[in-house]
Each structure stands twice: as C-alpha cells, then as structure tokens.
C-alpha cells in the first residue's frame, strides 16, 4: 500500500487537484455554459460511452495513429541507421529529411486530402509523415553516439560491416529509436486531430468539429479530456517500456 502510494500518490493527487481547479473555475470564475464543469463533462462522457459514439471516434483515431505510427517507425529506423552508419547515404538523404521535416504535417493536410481523399489513406499518410523524420533523426543521432570502441572491438573480433550494423549499431541505438518514437507519438496526436478537424467522417477531431458546428460544448470537452488521458496513458506506457526493456541498451557504456 505504501509502495503504491509512493509510486502513484503524486499522480492521483495531481489529477484530483486538476479536476478540482477546473471544477471551481467553471463554477465560480467563468461560470458559463461554454465552460462546463468536470461533473457535467463526465456525465456526458457516460452517455457517449453507452451510445457507443465515443468508442467509435476513439477507435477511429487510435487506429489511424497506430497504423501510421508503426509504419513510420518501421520505415524510419532502417533509414536512420543507414544515414548514421554510412556517410554517402547521409549525404544523399539529408536533402530530403532536412527539407521535408521543416514542412509541418499540418501544412501537408491539404495535399494529403487531394492525393488520398478524406478516408483513411490521407490520415495514415500524415501520421507516417509526422513520425518518420523524428524517428530517422533520432536513430541517426543514436548511431553517431555509439562509442567508437564498440565498433572497433567488433572489427577486431572479426565482425563484418553487416554484422556490426546488425549486432552493434542497431542494439546500441535502441534508446534513441524509442525516444524518437515517443516524440513522434506526441506529434501524431497533434496531426491526427488537425487532419480530422478538416476532413474526416469520424475520430476525436471530427467530434470536436461537430461539437463546434452544433454547439455541443460538452462533447467538445469530452473529446479534449479523452485526448489528454489517451496521450498521458500512451506516453507512460512508452516510458515504462523504455525503462523495462531498453534499460540495458546504451550507445555509450
């Protein structure tokens, strides 16, 4: 019990105070239908869960994020490893990465919709786009952080270049890859909401947009809180898995 408290007590207290401040603010400071208190939002959330609407929007957004995120990470990893390991590859691909990563994914929404329509294609494209460059950059940075002696040791133990790539560069870079993925996940949230706001038939972003159209303020808040909680949970999961599975991987020691 004491252990549980020391681990999660702070979080629990933080969340309680967050909702308390929100509650007090909406009742006594702003006091408007445009800023509903958490109790009202929670009630609305229960209604939306019962009717299945929330779950429909939530699963649509999660699906898009996961598909784009996994595809983007799987593409980004080998490209980042190759760019970090081989100079000519880096020189060749840097114009792409350094040019494209400064065009925000939000700016690509219009193009994505023109190319892939308002269905899943455009959303997944945008999530891949927002994921891939961060994963590439972090992976490449991880490769250059590898202690030279790790590579030299492998060379003088008889490893080939391909073996060094697979057995030294890849595992040594794991923490950087995961950090890149964690950052990319945060960006995916921004991107998916923006994309769904503009063009989608369902999703948490679409829910926000409908809320504005039909003045369903409570729905807007349900969507916002869901996004926040989902992001928080996913990020904790990432941190936990980095800590648990990748603790022993390190480029330096």
């Amino acid at each position: 019990m004491r252990r549980l408290w020391s681990l999660y007590g702070g979080y629990a207290l933080g969340f309680v105070s967050l909702f308390l401040i929100w509650h007090l603010a909406s009742l006594y400071v702003v006091s408007s239908v445009l800023f509903p208190p958490p109790t009202v939002v929670f009630k609305k959330a229960v209604v939306l869960v019962r009717s299945g609407v929330l779950l429909e929007h939530l699963s649509a957004s999660i699906q898009r994020i996961l598909m784009g995120f996994i595809a983007g990470s799987l593409l980004g990893m080998p490209i980042g490893l190759a760019m970090g390991s081989f100079r000519p590859v880096r020189k060749l691909l840097e114009p792409y990465t350094e040019f494209l990563r400064f065009i925000p994914s939000v700016a690509m929404i219009t193009v994505a919709v023109i190319w892939f329509g308002i269905g899943e294609g455009s959303k997944i494209f945008l999530i891949i786009y927002t994921t891939i460059f961060i994963v590439i950059l972090n992976t490449a940075a991880g490769v250059s952080a590898i202690a030279p002696n790790k590579i030299r040791a492998a060379q003088s133990l008889g490893a080939t270049r391909a073996q060094i790539f697979l057995h030294v560069a890849l595992p040594a870079t794991v923490p950087f890859i995961l950090t890149g993925m964690r950052l990319a996940m945060a960006n995916s949230f921004t991107t998916i909401v923006a994309a769904e706001l503009i063009a989608a038939n369902e999703g948490l972003g679409k829910m926000l947009w409908d809320g504005r159209m039909f003045m369903l303020v409570d729905d807007i808040f349900v969507s916002l809180v869901t996004l926040g909680l989902l992001g928080f949970a996913v990020d904790r999961l990432f941190r936990w898995s980095i800590f648990t599975f990748a603790g022993k991987y390190s480029p330096a020691t």
Partner: protein, 262 residues
C-alpha cells in the same frame, strides 16, 4: 633471430588539427615484435603509444612507412589482432558477460554449444564463472576488464593489443590483474603488445620493454630485455635493478614531455 611477427618500418603518423596544423605523433618509428613475446611499450603521456597500437590494430593507417604482420602489410582491423581497450565502453551493455565473451565466435558462426563451452572456459580462466549471466553494468571495473580479456582470448587471435587496460583500476585490483595476466600469458603464450605509462607495470609484465621518446615525432628510444623467469616480485633485487634501468631511460623523456606541455 627469426623473422619478427610484427615489424614497424619507418612509420610516420601525422594528424591535422581543426586549425589545420599538422602534428607528427610518431616519425621514423621502427619496432620488431617477436612471436610469443610479451612486449611492453612504455612512454610518457602524449608520446604516441596509443597511436602505435591503433595503427597495428588497423584502426588508423600510417601516413608513411608500413607495418608488417607475418610479412604482410596491415591494411585494416582483423581478428588476428584482438584489442583490449582502456575503458569499459567497448563492452556490449545489452549482452551478458558470457554473451560478450562469445561475440567473436558468434560472428564466425561457431555453433552455439561449442561457443558456450569455449566462452565458459575463458570466463573460468579470468575467474568470472559466477558472473556469466550478469550484464556489464552490474560488474566492477576490474571484472569488466576481465571480460574484455576473456572476450579476446576466446577468439584465439594471433596477438593481443592491450591499451593501458588496467589504468582506470584501483591499485589493489590493478596489481591483482597484472598477476593474473602474467599467469594467463604463461599458459597461452600469445604474443602481446602492452601499452603502459607505468614503469612498475612494464617491469612486472614485459619480457621486453620499449621506451618511447617524448612526443611529438616520437620513436623508440631503446629496448630493455627483462631476464626474469617465473613470478616477479616487486621487492626482488633484480626487479628493482630493471626498474632503475627503465626509470633512467624514461626520466629525461618525462621531463621533456612536461616541459613541452607547459
């Protein structure tokens, strides 16, 4: 004398600094190392000892001159020349002690059962049988250096290159490790090039000691043969005589190195 295993022939290595100034680490560097000998290369800090080792390891190429091993020029890293590094950053933190020791064998696709057995044998040789399943981060500095030694021995190289492998260890651990290394060398008789700046260490381990001049543009000033058989004791008269002989040869070089650093 038979043909040496390794020969440095008029080797020169020049580095260029970021400011574009050339710095000659070694110049007209000549050295022969015989098969099966334990050769200590001793010199003041900054004299280019590590440069010599890196060139022989194949990590860096000489600017001019050549390095021959078994009569063939050294062109890159190879499993003939295994390296034990000074720090512990060459170990693979995601592999257990025994997996680190197996690394070279695994790269050569030695079957799992055989490489396990060989890795166990060498872990036993360095006294780490009980630590086989631990990760490097869980081991002390001395243990990590033992893993490095087991890792290179398991790969059965023609020669070992050791770059001040015990420099970062505390005094007690260091002298224990020197003793163990001396014993291991007695059993394996692998050719060793051992880099150090510690006279005591050189006299304890080396069959021959090459003393280098102060850098830049360093060379071997002289080579002293240490005719001490069996275990060496620091308080032994003969040991002290060799210590003094080496000390006298290196003293001026250390003074020069310090003066140049000022």
């Amino acid at each position: 004398m038979s043909t040496p295993l390794v020969s440095f022939r008029d080797v020169e290595k020049t580095y260029r600094s970021l400011q574009g100034v050339d710095y000659g680490a070694v110049e007209h560097f000549n050295l022969d190392i015989e098969a099966g000998e334990f050769f200590c290369l001793l010199g003041p800090s900054g004299c280019g000892k590590t440069t010599v080792l890196k060139m022989l390891a194949g990590f860096e190429a000489p600017s001019t001159g050549e390095i021959l091993m078994d009569g063939r020029p050294v062109t890159g890293a190879s499993r003939d020349r295994a390296v034990v590094f000074q720090g512990d950053d060459s170990l693979y933190g995601w592999l257990t002690a025994i997996e680190n020791v197996e690394f070279g064998l695994r790269m050569r696709h030695v079957p799992k059962a055989e490489r396990r057995a060989r890795a166990r044998h060498y872990l036993e040789l360095v006294g780490l049988t009980g630590q086989a399943q631990k990760y490097p981060a869980e081991l002390s500095g001395g243990m990590k250096q033992r893993i490095q030694i087991a890792r290179v021995l398991a790969n059965e190289p023609t020669m070992l290159l050791m770059d001040e492998p015990f420099a970062a260890l505390d005094a007690q651990t260091r002298s224990l490790m020197q003793e163990e290394l001396a014993n291991i060398w007695q059993t394996t008789r692998t050719t060793v090039l051992f880099i150090t700046h510690d006279i005591d260490e050189a006299v304890t381990l080396g069959r021959r000691i090459g003393v280098m001049r102060a850098g830049p543009r360093s060379q071997v000033k002289g080579v002293i043969e240490v005719a001490l058989e069996g275990a060496r004791t620091r308080t032994d008269d003969v040991f002290l005589r060799y210590y003094k002989q080496v000390y006298e040869m290196i003293r001026d070089e250390v003074a020069t190195a310090m003066a140049r650093a000022r």
